[in-house]
Protein backbone atom coordinates (compact mmCIF):
# COMPACT_ATOMS: atom_id res chain seq x y z
CA UNK A 1 0.00 0.00 0.00
CA UNK A 2 1.15 3.53 -0.63
CA UNK A 3 0.24 6.79 1.01
CA UNK A 4 -1.85 8.95 -1.26
CA UNK A 5 0.82 11.61 -1.76
CA UNK A 6 3.56 9.16 -2.72
CA UNK A 7 4.29 9.13 -6.43
CA UNK A 8 3.86 5.96 -8.44
CA UNK A 9 6.98 5.13 -10.41
CA UNK A 10 7.27 2.81 -13.38
CA UNK A 11 10.15 1.81 -15.61
CA UNK A 12 9.12 1.74 -19.25
CA UNK A 13 11.31 -0.75 -21.05
CA UNK A 14 8.91 -3.12 -22.86
CA UNK A 15 5.50 -3.22 -24.53
CA UNK A 16 3.69 -4.47 -21.44
CA UNK A 17 5.01 -1.49 -19.47
CA UNK A 18 2.85 0.73 -21.71
CA UNK A 19 -0.14 -1.35 -20.57
CA UNK A 20 1.00 -0.96 -16.95
CA UNK A 21 1.39 2.80 -17.43
CA UNK A 22 -2.25 2.99 -18.55
CA UNK A 23 -3.41 1.00 -15.52
CA UNK A 24 -1.40 3.08 -13.03
CA UNK A 25 -2.64 6.37 -14.48
CA UNK A 26 -6.22 5.09 -14.46
CA UNK A 27 -5.90 4.26 -10.75
CA UNK A 28 -4.58 7.77 -10.03
CA UNK A 29 -7.37 9.33 -12.11
CA UNK A 30 -9.97 7.39 -10.16
CA UNK A 31 -8.39 8.37 -6.83
CA UNK A 32 -8.58 11.98 -7.99
CA UNK A 33 -12.24 11.47 -8.93
CA UNK A 34 -11.85 12.68 -12.48
CA UNK A 35 -15.00 12.18 -14.53
CA UNK A 36 -15.11 9.16 -16.82
CA UNK A 37 -14.41 11.29 -19.91
CA UNK A 38 -11.50 13.05 -18.18
CA UNK A 39 -10.11 9.70 -17.02
CA UNK A 40 -10.34 8.33 -20.54
CA UNK A 41 -8.57 11.37 -22.01
CA UNK A 42 -5.77 11.27 -19.43
CA UNK A 43 -5.22 7.51 -19.77
CA UNK A 44 -5.18 7.83 -23.56
CA UNK A 45 -2.61 10.63 -23.36
CA UNK A 46 -0.52 8.53 -20.96
CA UNK A 47 -0.64 5.63 -23.40
CA UNK A 48 0.67 7.81 -26.23
CA UNK A 49 3.42 9.30 -24.08
CA UNK A 50 4.49 5.98 -22.58
CA UNK A 51 4.78 4.55 -26.10
CA UNK A 52 6.88 7.56 -27.16
CA UNK A 53 9.16 6.98 -24.17
CA UNK A 54 9.60 3.36 -25.20
CA UNK A 55 9.81 3.70 -28.98
CA UNK A 56 11.52 7.07 -29.48
CA UNK A 57 13.30 7.46 -26.15
CA UNK A 58 14.60 3.91 -26.05
CA UNK A 59 12.89 3.39 -22.68
CA UNK A 60 12.62 5.56 -19.61
CA UNK A 61 10.43 6.15 -16.60
CA UNK A 62 6.96 7.34 -15.71
CA UNK A 63 6.13 9.08 -12.45
CA UNK A 64 2.61 9.97 -11.47
CA UNK A 65 1.09 11.69 -8.46
CA UNK A 66 -1.90 13.64 -7.25
CA UNK A 67 -1.49 17.42 -7.05
CA UNK A 68 -3.36 20.11 -5.16
CA UNK A 69 -3.65 23.70 -6.28
CA UNK A 70 -5.80 25.66 -3.84
CA UNK A 71 -9.30 24.39 -4.52
CA UNK A 72 -8.36 22.14 -7.43
CA UNK A 73 -7.18 18.59 -7.42
CA UNK A 74 -5.45 16.90 -10.29
CA UNK A 75 -3.17 14.18 -11.58
CA UNK A 76 0.32 14.96 -12.84
CA UNK A 77 2.34 12.45 -14.82
CA UNK A 78 5.96 12.85 -15.90
CA UNK A 79 7.53 10.77 -18.69
CA UNK A 80 11.31 10.93 -18.93
CA UNK A 81 13.82 9.27 -21.19
CA UNK A 82 17.47 9.83 -22.01
CA UNK A 83 17.08 9.04 -25.68
CA UNK A 84 18.15 11.11 -28.69
CA UNK A 85 15.87 14.04 -27.82
CA UNK A 86 13.91 16.25 -30.19
CA UNK A 87 15.66 18.91 -32.28
CA UNK A 88 12.61 20.81 -33.46
CA UNK A 89 9.92 20.80 -30.77
CA UNK A 90 7.50 22.94 -32.72
CA UNK A 91 7.63 20.52 -35.63
CA UNK A 92 7.29 17.50 -33.33
CA UNK A 93 4.12 19.01 -31.87
CA UNK A 94 2.50 19.40 -35.29
CA UNK A 95 -0.38 17.09 -36.16
CA UNK A 96 0.69 14.44 -38.62
CA UNK A 97 4.41 14.99 -38.27
CA UNK A 98 6.06 11.67 -37.57
CA UNK A 99 9.61 10.50 -37.18
CA UNK A 100 8.66 6.91 -37.84
CA UNK A 101 5.79 4.66 -38.75
CA UNK A 102 3.14 6.25 -36.53
CA UNK A 103 0.35 8.64 -37.33
CA UNK A 104 2.10 11.62 -35.83
CA UNK A 105 -0.66 12.16 -33.30
CA UNK A 106 1.17 11.02 -30.17
CA UNK A 107 2.55 14.35 -28.95
CA UNK A 108 0.12 16.76 -30.59
CA UNK A 109 -2.91 14.59 -29.75
CA UNK A 110 -1.95 13.98 -26.15
CA UNK A 111 -1.42 17.71 -25.66
CA UNK A 112 -5.08 18.26 -26.59
CA UNK A 113 -6.24 15.61 -24.12
CA UNK A 114 -4.74 17.20 -20.99
CA UNK A 115 -5.03 20.59 -19.27
CA UNK A 116 -1.32 21.31 -18.96
CA UNK A 117 1.46 20.02 -21.17
CA UNK A 118 5.15 20.77 -20.82
CA UNK A 119 7.95 19.33 -22.87
CA UNK A 120 11.65 19.66 -22.25
CA UNK A 121 13.95 18.18 -24.84
CA UNK A 122 17.11 18.81 -26.79
CA UNK A 123 19.29 16.64 -29.02
CA UNK A 124 21.39 14.30 -26.89
CA UNK A 125 19.66 15.33 -23.68
CA UNK A 126 16.58 13.12 -23.75
CA UNK A 127 12.97 14.16 -23.44
CA UNK A 128 10.76 14.91 -20.44
CA UNK A 129 7.05 15.44 -20.87
CA UNK A 130 4.88 16.58 -17.94
CA UNK A 131 1.11 16.50 -18.22
CA UNK A 132 -1.57 17.54 -15.72
CA UNK A 133 -5.30 16.95 -15.73
CA UNK A 134 -7.46 18.82 -13.23
CA UNK A 135 -10.72 17.53 -11.79
CA UNK A 136 -13.62 19.82 -12.71
Amino acid sequence: MRAEADPVVLDITANDDVVRARQLVRTLAQECRLSLVEQTKLVTAASELARNTLVHGGGGTMQGHLVDDRARRGVRVVFADSGPGIADLELALTDGWTSGSGLGLGLSGSRRLVDEFEIDSAPGRGTTVTVTKWAR
Binding site: N15, V37, T40, K41, T44, E48
Partner: protein
Protein backbone atom coordinates in the same frame (compact mmCIF):
# COMPACT_ATOMS: atom_id res chain seq x y z
CA UNK B 1 4.52 -12.77 -23.81
CA UNK B 2 1.69 -11.00 -25.53
CA UNK B 3 -1.53 -12.90 -25.90
CA UNK B 4 -3.51 -13.78 -29.03
CA UNK B 5 -7.05 -12.50 -29.25
CA UNK B 6 -9.47 -15.31 -30.23
CA UNK B 7 -11.26 -14.94 -33.58
CA UNK B 8 -14.69 -16.61 -33.71
CA UNK B 9 -16.56 -17.56 -36.85
CA UNK B 10 -20.35 -17.33 -37.23
CA UNK B 11 -21.36 -18.31 -40.76
CA UNK B 12 -19.35 -16.05 -43.04
CA UNK B 13 -18.67 -13.44 -40.38
CA UNK B 14 -15.57 -13.32 -38.19
CA UNK B 15 -16.09 -11.95 -34.69
CA UNK B 16 -13.39 -10.52 -32.47
CA UNK B 17 -14.24 -9.33 -28.99
CA UNK B 18 -11.43 -7.45 -27.29
CA UNK B 19 -11.70 -8.19 -23.58
CA UNK B 20 -8.33 -7.20 -22.15
CA UNK B 21 -5.94 -4.29 -22.31
CA UNK B 22 -3.77 -5.35 -25.27
CA UNK B 23 -0.14 -4.45 -25.68
CA UNK B 24 1.04 -3.17 -29.07
CA UNK B 25 2.43 -6.56 -30.11
CA UNK B 26 -0.93 -8.24 -29.48
CA UNK B 27 -2.60 -5.53 -31.57
CA UNK B 28 -0.25 -6.21 -34.49
CA UNK B 29 -0.84 -9.99 -34.15
CA UNK B 30 -4.58 -9.43 -34.28
CA UNK B 31 -4.26 -7.45 -37.51
CA UNK B 32 -2.19 -10.21 -39.14
CA UNK B 33 -4.32 -13.07 -37.79
CA UNK B 34 -7.53 -11.45 -39.03
CA UNK B 35 -6.18 -10.95 -42.55
CA UNK B 36 -5.16 -14.62 -42.70
CA UNK B 37 -8.51 -15.80 -41.32
CA UNK B 38 -10.52 -13.67 -43.75
CA UNK B 39 -8.80 -15.43 -46.64
CA UNK B 40 -8.82 -18.92 -45.06
CA UNK B 41 -12.53 -18.80 -44.19
CA UNK B 42 -13.63 -16.65 -47.15
CA UNK B 43 -15.43 -14.47 -44.63
CA UNK B 44 -17.54 -11.62 -46.01
CA UNK B 45 -17.69 -9.66 -42.79
CA UNK B 46 -15.56 -8.83 -39.76
CA UNK B 47 -17.06 -7.55 -36.52
CA UNK B 48 -14.75 -6.07 -33.89
CA UNK B 49 -16.44 -5.68 -30.53
CA UNK B 50 -14.80 -3.00 -28.35
CA UNK B 51 -17.55 -2.84 -25.70
CA UNK B 52 -15.02 -3.72 -22.99
CA UNK B 53 -12.28 -1.43 -24.29
CA UNK B 54 -11.68 1.52 -21.97
CA UNK B 55 -9.32 3.50 -24.17
CA UNK B 56 -8.46 3.55 -27.86
CA UNK B 57 -5.20 5.39 -28.48
CA UNK B 58 -3.67 6.23 -31.85
CA UNK B 59 -2.05 2.80 -32.14
CA UNK B 60 -5.28 0.86 -31.64
CA UNK B 61 -7.20 3.41 -33.71
CA UNK B 62 -4.79 2.91 -36.57
CA UNK B 63 -5.16 -0.88 -36.20
CA UNK B 64 -8.96 -0.57 -36.56
CA UNK B 65 -8.57 1.54 -39.71
CA UNK B 66 -5.94 -0.81 -41.13
CA UNK B 67 -8.05 -3.91 -40.49
CA UNK B 68 -10.98 -2.24 -42.25
CA UNK B 69 -8.78 -1.43 -45.28
CA UNK B 70 -7.16 -4.86 -45.44
CA UNK B 71 -10.53 -6.62 -45.12
CA UNK B 72 -11.99 -4.47 -47.87
CA UNK B 73 -9.16 -5.51 -50.15
CA UNK B 74 -9.91 -9.12 -49.28
CA UNK B 75 -13.61 -8.70 -50.08
CA UNK B 76 -14.88 -8.47 -46.51
CA UNK B 77 -16.51 -5.59 -44.72
CA UNK B 78 -15.55 -4.51 -41.19
CA UNK B 79 -17.84 -3.08 -38.54
CA UNK B 80 -16.55 -1.85 -35.18
CA UNK B 81 -19.23 -2.22 -32.51
CA UNK B 82 -19.77 -1.07 -28.93
CA UNK B 83 -17.58 2.03 -28.75
CA UNK B 84 -18.02 3.80 -25.42
CA UNK B 85 -19.01 7.49 -25.51
CA UNK B 86 -15.87 8.55 -23.63
CA UNK B 87 -13.75 6.65 -26.16
CA UNK B 88 -15.46 8.40 -29.08
CA UNK B 89 -14.96 11.84 -27.48
CA UNK B 90 -11.29 11.10 -26.80
CA UNK B 91 -10.59 9.75 -30.29
CA UNK B 92 -12.00 12.84 -31.96
CA UNK B 93 -10.01 15.13 -29.68
CA UNK B 94 -6.90 13.07 -30.30
CA UNK B 95 -7.39 13.78 -34.00
CA UNK B 96 -8.55 10.35 -35.15
CA UNK B 97 -12.06 10.29 -36.54
CA UNK B 98 -11.73 6.82 -38.13
CA UNK B 99 -13.38 8.07 -41.32
CA UNK B 100 -13.04 4.80 -43.23
CA UNK B 101 -14.30 2.58 -40.43
CA UNK B 102 -17.92 1.56 -40.25
CA UNK B 103 -19.37 1.48 -36.73
CA UNK B 104 -22.53 0.24 -35.03
CA UNK B 105 -23.68 0.76 -31.47
CA UNK B 106 -24.18 -2.93 -30.67
CA UNK B 107 -23.19 -6.36 -31.92
CA UNK B 108 -26.74 -6.96 -33.10
CA UNK B 109 -26.82 -3.72 -35.10
CA UNK B 110 -23.39 -4.49 -36.53
CA UNK B 111 -24.52 -7.89 -37.80
CA UNK B 112 -27.66 -6.32 -39.26
CA UNK B 113 -25.56 -3.71 -41.06
CA UNK B 114 -23.41 -6.44 -42.59
CA UNK B 115 -26.50 -8.36 -43.69
CA UNK B 116 -27.99 -5.27 -45.31
CA UNK B 117 -24.88 -4.44 -47.28
CA UNK B 118 -24.58 -8.06 -48.36
CA UNK B 119 -28.17 -7.95 -49.62
CA UNK B 120 -27.33 -4.84 -51.58
CA UNK B 121 -24.27 -6.55 -53.03
CA UNK B 122 -25.99 -9.76 -54.23
CA UNK B 123 -29.14 -8.04 -55.48
CA UNK B 124 -28.32 -4.87 -57.37
CA UNK B 125 -32.03 -3.94 -57.61
CA UNK B 126 -32.48 -4.06 -53.82
Amino acid sequence: MSERVPILQIGDVLLVSIQTDLDDQAVVHLQDDLAARVVATEARGVVIDITAVEIVDSFVGRMLATIASISRMLDAETVVVGMRPAVAITLVELGLSLGGVRTALSLEKGLQALERSRGARTDPTA
